[in-house]
């Protein structure tokens, strides 16, 4: 696998430059320190939403900057946390006095840098709240048996947190309310992912790990790393239950519950396949008496060019559905 690339070290900056050029009406890229904000600063004071993390997950997070979602996204290098200074600068840039909510995927570097940025911003008088997103069931301490580890990774549920919190902020919720809402969403979301082929780092020729012809990598995250184990390659009808059932169980979903389901492509999975997987997901949920109240099907939280997909379920009530349905205008999500 090769890439459209110049110097791998310049990839992120060149891509951000291209992203800004492609969406001049939506975003503005601050080159140094690097962060992306809405083209129009909020016209009125509102709780601001900032997220970020390593690059290579596009459209996450820069693709979600805009009305109804993020006020700023802070991209690090590929699969590497942005620096605390980037995050602090972005936080400063979007604060209108109403405070800032940091939406952070649970990775050591991200957590550390966002926490530090929050302290710096707080010293300067910005009210910062953090929402930690840790939805990846594959890394649940209860499953891995490692209670001292960093805990569940943050993956595709972050899109739902950003959408719902963005809608609440737009509607006037204050910074504490938005953060509480975000924590509630994160707490009721779990994800499992499976890869059919590893991703290839920029400038490399070989995928980061090899799979036998009859193997899939189960429980992968979004940084090209190995998952929690190998399983057998099989039809979608056999693979999808292995993602859905543990999630349903972990969330304690019951007959009559309603969920928002995210079927997320990890980079190289075709639209046909994602639609097909979604069909399997709804069938499984329907069979268990669980309503798929809303859904998102597409490649939104990727791992470069990994072939694979994740299934995220978020238990929802009418309030969350309303916030999900509220308008958004971003490069990657718009309705």
């Amino acid at each position: 696998r090769r890439q459209f690339l110049n110097d791998p070290d310049d990839l992120v900056a060149e891509a951000l430059e291209g992203f800004e050029l492609a969406h001049p009406h939506l975003v503005r890229w601050n080159r140094d320190p690097s962060y992306v904000v809405r083209a129009q600063a909020p016209v009125r004071p509102k709780a601001a939403l900032v997220s970020g993390g390593g690059s290579g997950h596009e459209p996450l997070h820069v693709g979600f900057v805009g009305t109804g979602m993020l006020d700023a996204a802070v991209p690090g290098q590929v699969f590497a946390s942005p620096t605390a200074l980037q995050v602090a600068a972005a936080t400063r840039a979007v604060d209108t006095g109403a405070g800032v909510v940091h939406v952070v995927k649970n990775y050591t570097g991200d957590v550390l840098n966002f926490r530090i940025a929050a302290e710096i911003a707080a010293d300067e008088g910005v009210r910062v709240q953090q929402v930690l997103v840790d939805d990846d069931l594959a890394t649940d301490p209860q499953l891995t048996g490692n209670p001292d580890g960093p805990g569940r990774r943050g993956t595709a549920a972050v899109v739902v947190v950003e959408k719902v919190c963005g809608a609440a902020a737009e509607a006037g919720a204050d910074v504490v309310e938005v953060a509480q809402l975000g924590r509630r969403v994160a707490g009721s979301a779990r994800t499992l992912a499976v890869a059919l082929q590893a991703s290839t780092s920029p400038g490399e020729r070989r995928p980061s790990f090899d799979l036998g012809p009859q193997e899939v990598e189960y429980g992968v995250g979004i940084h090209g790393e190995r998952g929690v184990g190998r399983r057998g390659f099989a039809t979608a009808a056999e693979l999808v239950p292995q993602l859905v059932h543990p999630v349903v169980e972990a969330l304690g979903l019951r007959r009559g519950d309603a969920v928002l389901a995210v079927v997320n492509g990890l980079g190289s999975t075709s639209g046909l396949e994602l639609s097909l997987v979604f069909r399997e997901v709804t069938a499984l949920l329907g069979g268990a008496g669980i309503t798929t109240a809303r859904s998102l099907v597409g490649s939104y939280v990727t791992a470069l060019d990994m072939t694979g997909c994740s299934v995220t379920l978020v238990k929802v009530d009418d309030d969350l559905v309303r916030l999900w349905d509220a308008p958004a205008r971003t490069a990657a999500l718009s309705w």
Partner: protein
């Protein structure tokens, strides 16, 4: 004697030169006990700090350390943000002061060690920079209690930090990336702790 902005810059520039000359040693250590990028991360942070110092020509001691802190906070790895917050306590303690004494350095060093422990979650004995930071703060406090001036206090801090760093050799890592390699890291000094010792050593010599 006290530390003014010019001497603080001299101290830092001396550390900067040491990192440029010897960063590969740190990388080697991190290769054994971690992921082998610490030397490069530190060099990158030091260069960013340098650019800020050149650009701003700070005229109080706090501003010198503020530039240093920002350079680290603008760098990746675990060391970037943690060392950035460490130096930030120096910037805070010396904020707006044209000259500082050993007492201010002692307060900064203690606050820095506390902050790094709070943010990074490591305690003494976990084979991290904390193993040099905590003894350095204690030594500075003792020196101040004994009435020492800046150079003497920094010399004491250097000795304590170097001893602390040396003591990490026998430790098993529990925090940071080194924790994944477990026993393999035993037998080498923690590079972050060593860098802290270098920092105080340069202070004792150049400041």
């Amino acid at each position: 004697a006290v530390l003014d902005a010019q001497r603080a810059r001299g101290w830092w520039e001396s550390f900067d030169r040491q990192v440029e000359e010897r960063w590969e040693e740190l990388t080697e250590l991190d290769r054994v006990s971690g992921d082998g990028d610490f030397g490069r991360n530190l060099r990158s942070a030091v260069r960013k700090a340098r650019a800020r110092l050149v650009g701003a020509a700070p005229d109080d001691v706090g501003a010198v350390f503020a530039a240093v802190s920002a350079g680290f906070l603008d760098t990746g790895g675990s060391s970037g943000p943690l060392f950035g917050m460490y130096f930030r306590e120096f910037a805070k303690a010396a904020g707006g002061l044209p000259v500082v004494g050993a007492d201010v350095l002692a307060r900064a060093s203690r606050a820095g060690a506390d902050t790094v422990q709070r943010l990074g979650g490591a305690s003494v004995g976990d084979k991290t920079a904390v193993d040099a930071m905590v003894p350095a703060a204690e030594a500075l406090e003792r020196a101040v209690a004994g009435g020492a001036e800046v150079t003497a206090a920094l010399t004491a801090a250097y000795r304590a930090a170097a001893a602390g760093a040396h003591a990490t050799t026998g430790m098993r890592a529990r925090r940071g990336r080194a924790s994944y390699v477990g026993d393999a890291a035993r037998g080498v000094v923690d590079p972050g702790a060593l860098a802290v010792a270098w920092f105080y050593e340069r202070g004792a010599t150049a400041a």
